[in-house]
């Protein structure tokens, strides 16, 4: 048997760290913003990447939950926007400041940047805003943002979104804010030019509709996907999605996929 390859241990634990909870407040009913201060200095995240975060300091729930990288500060603090919807997030919602949580990350690929001449158009559905927020921050006034939600109160962080001076087009299912309709209705209205580059994140039906729209209009772009995940690092094969190239792991080949590869 060959000797252990010591060089492979160089990055050991680089993506596994503990972090102190420094904030966990409700930004809208059922939606919370989690702030973490990592111990040590884990690698800086890129837009589109995610973290696996323990829901509490104890052994239950067993598995960490995946959360998009939402924002970071100059001194390395991380924030993640999440929706309280299951056992893990309900438990996380009750965690007070100072609690130490196990974290893995940043994980997965990231949104490729637009090429010269390509104009970004960001499409977010509900909590999907969590994944595209770093892009909105980065592109600033360059970005057009189509933000869809069920209702006004599900259009979380919309003030922060407009704070980045992007061109914001809101739409809701119930008409309580912006256009009454879907993000695809809004896209049809905006009729983005051929050199537009779509960045989408939202619930599955929205992603499917955006994939279809992009194919129809021959527009290029990316979508970030979500799936139940166990390990987050590519080992369990639990989080696959069917693409035109076969099953792909959301945590490893994704979470960002080319629209043209999605079904």
């Amino acid at each position: 048997m060959p000797a252990a390859s010591g060089h492979r241990t160089a990055s050991m634990s680089a993506r596994s760290f503990r972090a102190a909870l420094t904030g966990n407040f409700e930004v809208s009913p059922g939606y919370r913003l989690l702030s973490l201060r990592p111990e040590g200095s884990p690698p800086a995240p890129k837009p589109g990447q995610f973290y696996m975060v323990a829901s509490g300091p104890g052994p239950e729930p067993l598995l960490k939950r995946p959360f998009c990288y939402f924002d970071s500060t100059g001194d390395g603090d991380l924030s993640m926007l999440y929706k309280v919807q299951g056992k893990g997030t309900r438990m996380l919602a009750a965690m007070p400041d100072g609690v130490i949580l196990d974290v893995l990350g940043p994980l997965g690929n990231s949104y490729p940047m637009p090429k010269k001449g390509q104009r970004p158009i960001i499409v977010a559905g509900g909590i999907g805003i969590a994944s595209v927020m770093p892009l909105i921050k980065k592109f600033g006034p360059e970005a057009r943002v189509v933000f869809g939600a069920r209702s006004q109160e599900d259009m979380v962080m919309r003030r922060e979104v407009s704070g980045f001076l992007c061109e914001l087009h809101g739409c809701t299912d119930d008409g309580t804010l912006g256009l009454q309709g879907t993000v695809v209705d809004m896209l049809h209205e905006l009729a983005p030019e051929d050199d537009s580059l779509i960045y989408a994140c939202g619930p599955k039906p929205m992603t499917r509709a955006v994939v279809e729209y992009a194919a129809q209009k021959r527009l290029k772009g990316y979508a970030s996907l979500e799936e139940y995940m166990a390990c987050g690092i590519g080992a369990c094969m639990g989080c696959v999605v069917m693409t035109k190239k076969g099953y792909r792991r959301v945590c490893k080949e994704g979470p960002v996929f080319k629209l043209e590869d999605l079904i």
Partner: protein, 307 residues
């Protein structure tokens, strides 16, 4: 302090392995620690041809455990030998291949090729609950299993032969005995327990496969009981697994009679789980003043004379 144990002619530097299906082919975990810290890697099950696996959702967390129905998505035998085996060979750890065939002839063919490719051990997967053909079908009847093991035994010259047993049988002892009589060098147990989760609001099963395999701390008491029973039944070494997350868990399995253990679902909880189990065993040995880890094997004390 001596941590090494032997499974047949295979010497492990320590008794801690990682369970098949929870560790891929080792690549992802090698970014977190030197795989040479663990006794061996039981790699993701290999079939003759690549397999696509089941549709998602494939995993779901349940109280103290999780369900999975991956359906043995894997790269197939050729790619495994060309790409995955050389990778794991870079590390000072035992390379254990997990084999899944649709027919006895396939089990034999895959095992022979893996033996020739130089794996340290072959674990026959006769207990996967999530595939239609092969898998569990071979574990259901001891005689069928005995014949299968016998055929593979004839084809395998160098690799140690392990048979992975399912808990989803009436009497795991008779299946273990059949594996031993068929010529297995060791048995590993338990594979996952068949389970199910339902979403009441949608009135649908959570997993696309409807049923899945339950793993994690929830199954540890069942695994311990079965390891205890099988160890009384067979003379070959037993590799215990099922909900092991700490050094103390591992020690419990060894006391029940296991020669080695495997860390499974805990790898998903924390990538560094398996080396932490090695450290935990050492810590226990220090605290108890033990020099050799084999002192633990079968060390269970039962005061009730009826047992």
């Amino acid at each position: 302090m001596n941590l090494s144990v032997s499974i047949g002619k295979l010497k492990l530097k320590n008794p801690v392995l990682v369970a098949s299906g929870t560790f891929g082919y080792g690549e992802e975990f090698s970014e977190f620690y030197d795989l040479g810290r663990i006794g061996g890697v039981m790699m993701k099950g290999i079939s003759l041809k690549p397999r696509e696996g089941n549709p998602p959702p494939r995993v779901y967390e349940t109280p103290c455990g999780m369900l999975n129905a991956i359906g043995l998505q894997n790269v197939g035998l050729n790619k495994f030998i060309k790409e995955k085996l050389p990778f794991i060979r870079q590390f000072d750890t035992a390379a254990i291949a997990n084999v899944l065939g649709n027919t006895p002839a396939e089990y034999v063919r895959i095992s022979r090729q893996l033996d020739e490719a130089g794996v340290d051990a072959i674990e026959l997967n006769v207990s996967c609950p999530n595939v239609k053909k092969g898998g569990i079908a071979f574990c259901a009847d001891p005689r069928t299993l005995g014949r299968l093991v016998g055929k593979v035994r004839e084809a395998v010259r160098n690799a140690v032969l392990i048979v992975k047993l399912s808990p989803n049988v009436t009497d795991i002892r008779s299946v273990a005995r059949a594996a031993e009589e068929g010529g297995a060098d060791a048995v590993s147990l338990i594979n996952t327990l068949t389970g199910m989760a339902i979403d009441a609001r949608t009135r649908r099963p959570v997993l696309a496969n409807v049923t899945g395999g339950l793993s994690g701390p929830a199954i540890k008491p069942i695994a311990l009981r079965m390891v205890h029973e099988v160890c009384k039944e067979v003379k070959i070494p037993v590799i215990g697994m099922g909900g092991i997350a700490t050094g103390l868990d591992a020690v419990e399995f060894m006391l029940a009679g296991a020669t080695a253990v495997a860390v499974g679902t805990a790898n998903f909880v924390s990538p560094g789980a398996a080396p932490a189990v090695v450290d935990g065993i050492e810590e226990f040995m220090r605290a108890e003043g033990l020099e050799d880890v084999s002192e633990l094997i079968g060390g269970l004390l039962i005061d009730n004379p009826d047992h």
